[in-house]
């Protein structure tokens, strides 16, 4: 095991015991929760803002133009300015819309994505929820987002929104299968569903290298399926501006629209995080084998930085998809899932199970 990577559990235990000494157990617990919640909220918001900025810059780079570069140094405050603008916009009430569902829908989407991010490991010990069924939890919780989308489309009382929401619902539910099955290959390799366990099992190399061909296939399928899950890239017909205005979130304005927008980018970040955790080693530096000088050199870079670099690369690739490819039509999208990705996944799992039995992986 990698010995010289700092374990954040020391830090968290110190803070925890400090609080216990300062106040009664109940209050200490409550304070702990508040601290964690605030830390995550801050992380979520800041990461969301800067991913949006990053997308605009990257998109501009691919399209032969500059992105935002006026507001703040190199345009860094652009998204904050946009956020302030969205906050001050009028919340337009829709006639004949189902008011309760209309207001609740954006919150469901945000809450689902927030619950998923709580389980992501950023460094050893720096993880809010570390269940033994980690992966299962993450997949289950990110599926809750589809409820929010369907509610948004239905309660808007508008034909465009309804069509967009129905398409989106069909798409997300179909692609969840592929996402789950491709993650299952690594679960079979590593023998555990616990996210920190999966990362620890990559101490002698990332699964994408150790698991050779089936892991590579699973990675590619995961990348495609998760782009579809998050309504991004060539699979974004639910919000295709050139067809149905803005799909399920047409009728939302101001802060509610900001929630959908933010949730979409954070979903992309979460999905990229899962990809790095499971396939690319999470916070584990690049190791080949155990206990050699190469590993020691790699360990100099802190694990949080490794994690961020990997996630950023996957996010970059997902953005690259979006700005290069045309859009798929709904029937082509569903054909892709049911006729191509799902059979590939099933065969892949059988192959992986066989390889694991025979021990033919690193």
């Amino acid at each position: 095991m990698a010995v010289n990577i700092y374990d954040f559990t020391e830090l968290t235990r110190n803070i925890g015991s400090g609080l216990q000494r300062a106040m009664s157990p109940g209050w200490a617990r409550a304070t702990e929760y508040v601290i964690i919640g605030l830390a995550f909220l801050l992380f979520y918001a800041v990461t969301g803002l800067y991913i949006i900025y990053g997308e605009r810059r990257i998109c501009a780079f691919m399209q032969n133009r500059l992105g935002p570069n006026r507001v703040g140094p190199a345009g860094l405050f652009q998204t904050i300015a946009d956020l302030i603008k969205l906050l001050t916009k009028e919340l337009i009430p829709i006639r004949n819309a189902d008011k309760l569902l209309f207001n609740v829908a954006p919150f469901i989407v945000i809450i689902a994505s927030f619950m998923a991010i709580a389980a992501i490991p950023f460094a050893r010990g720096l993880q809010a929820l570390d269940f033994e069924i980690g992966i299962f939890y993450v997949i289950a919780v990110s599926s809750l987002g589809v409820v929010g989308i369907l509610l948004a489309g239905w309660s808007s009382n508008s034909k465009y929104s309804l069509i967009g929401a129905m398409r989106s619902g069909a798409q997300i539910i179909s692609y969840e299968l592929s996402v789950g099955l491709s993650l299952l290959t690594i679960v079979v390799y590593s023998g555990t569903m616990q996210l920190s366990g999966i990362i620890e099992s990559q101490a002698n190399g990332w699964w994408i290298f150790k698991g050779h061909i089936p892991a590579l296939v699973a990675f590619l399928v995961f990348l495609v399926a998760s782009t579809a899950e998050t309504n991004r890239g060539p699979f974004d017909l639910a919000e295709a501006e050139s067809e149905l205005t803005a799909g399920f979130h047409t009728e939302y304005s101001g802060i509610r629209f900001a929630f959908f927008f933010l949730a979409e980018y954070m979903n992309m970040f979460i999905v990229a995080s899962i990809a790095t955790t499971v396939f690319l080693g999470g916070w584990m530096p690049l190791h080949f084998g155990l206990n050699n000088t190469f590993n020691h050199v790699m360990d100099i870079i802190p694990p949080v930085v490794w994690y961020l670099i990997k996630t950023a690369s996957v996010v970059f690739v997902m953005m690259w998809f979006k700005w290069t490819f045309p859009r798929l039509r709904i029937d082509q999208l569903l054909t892709l899932e049911w006729k191509y990705l799902l059979p590939i996944n099933l065969v892949n799992i059988v192959v992986v199970a066989f390889l694991c039995l025979m021990g033919w992986h690193f």
């Binding site: 998109c59 691919m62 399209q63 032969n64 133009r65 034909k159 465009y160 069509i163 060539p234 974004d236 017909l237 295709a240 501006e241 050139s242 067809e243 149905l244 205005t245 700005w323 290069t324 490819f325 045309p326 859009r327 798929l328 039509r329 709904i330 029937d331 082509q332």
Partner: protein, 375 residues
């Protein structure tokens, strides 16, 4: 009886889901309303409603003199502005029996072809963007800016030229004209294969365009679909070959014809036409004859009484100008037979049976410019 016919035309069965696309919509290029009756995702009926930008150009032309009409024709199909101007000028010159200098015909043809390339570039941008490949918009515009720079340098305006006048041109060309065009051709020949790499060979794009919106040759002739959309169905309708005007008699080029008639065929015809246009430019740009830039015309142009008709190949099809004159300095009646008018209504034949996403693909491949429909 009238009301019944109207209702049947518009709605179809009562439980159909009727959706409006437009008039303000990111992918109908201009103000056009499609009333689409859907069954799930499949289109049952499409009824286009035009007239949102009807400005009464034909009526205005009855009050304006012939040189003033040129400025109005620019604004019909603004992406082939030069060709629209040329149509009216040729009609008037034919009516008056005026002999135009060689230099003028050569320059007019060069500008026609440049305008055709610019128009097809914008079509390509918009087609990619409608399909969802948002980057193509910027690549096409980047290349189009070069042509617009040439136009701006030569006659001051990028899009709506009004450079033609009955008898010739408004003023002589810029001295750097030839060099700029040669540079542009050299640059664009390297860039055009990039367009193929980005969009044409993309699997997703092919899936969305192959076999979609098939227009048969019969229907193309019946509906009067001309231009690249008609040629993709095998309708040989290139006016530059049928009734050559300008310098088209002197240059050699192919008329690009395909037989499949689907969206991909229309796409490929336009890309091939860009290559052909560059070929024509290469033949002409080094041989602009010296001479006057305009024939001697009277100050007030009076076309003799009678009727005159001239057809021109714009970037979108056949533009016909029909002038009825009674000897005054303004036309008695002028009719513009515009290509987009006929191209539009074939959508109600092509779209049913496909999905909504295909409607966008089909109307993008027909390359409609709405002011041309409404005039």
């Amino acid at each position: 009886m009238q009301e019944e016919t109207v209702k049947n035309m518009i709605l179809g069965e009562d439980d159909d889901y009727v959706v409006n696309m437009g008039p303000q919509h990111p992918s109908t290029h201009g103000v056009l309303r499609f009333e689409v009756s859907l069954y799930g995702e499949t289109i049952r009926k499409v009824v286009p409603h035009c007239g949102y930008i009807h400005r009464g150009i034909e009526k205005m032309c009855e009050r304006d003199t012939y040189p003033q009409i040129i400025h109005l024709t620019d604004r019909m199909d603004y992406l082939s502005a030069h060709m629209n101007n040329e149509a009216v000028c040729l009609c008037v010159e034919k009516a008056l029996g005026v002999e135009i200098p060689e230099r003028v015909t050569c320059i007019r043809t060069i500008l026609d072809e440049l305008n055709r390339i610019a128009s097809h570039q914008l079509w390509w941008c918009a087609m990619g963007m409608d399909m969802g490949a948002l980057t193509t918009f910027f690549y096409g515009l980047r290349d189009r800016e070069r042509i617009l720079d040439i136009f701006e340098e030569s006659f001051g305006s990028r899009l709506l030229h009004s450079y033609n006048t009955p008898g010739g041109l408004m003023h002589d060309i810029h001295p750097g004209f030839r060099k700029r065009i040669v540079d542009f051709i050299r640059y664009f020949r390297k860039k055009l294969p990039e367009y193929d790499q980005l969009l044409t060979d993309n699997v997703i794009f092919r899936e969305r365009t192959e076999g979609i919106g098939v227009l048969s040759l019969e229907d193309a002739i019946q509906y009067g679909v001309t231009g690249p959309s008609g040629r993709a169905s095998g309708f040989s309708c290139d006016i530059r070959k049928i009734e050559p005007y300008g310098a088209y008699r002197k240059v050699s080029f192919h008329e690009v014809l395909r037989t499949e008639g689907d969206t991909l065929a229309r796409y490929k015809v336009r890309i091939a036409e860009m290559y052909e246009s560059m070929h024509i430019l290469e033949q002409l740009v080094d041989q602009i004859p010296e001479g006057d830039y305009s024939a001697k015309m009277k100050a007030v142009i009076r076309v003799p009484a009678g009727e005159f008709f001239q057809r021109v190949e714009t970037a979108r099809g056949e533009l016909g100008v029909y002038i009825v004159s009674d000897g005054n300095k303004t036309p008695y009646r002028i009719k513009f037979r515009t290509p987009n008018f006929s191209n539009l209504f074939v959508i109600s034949k092509l779209a049913p049976g496909h999905k909504i996403a295909d409607l966008v693909a089909i109307s993008g491949s027909l390359d409609l410019v709405i002011p041309d429909i409404d005039r």
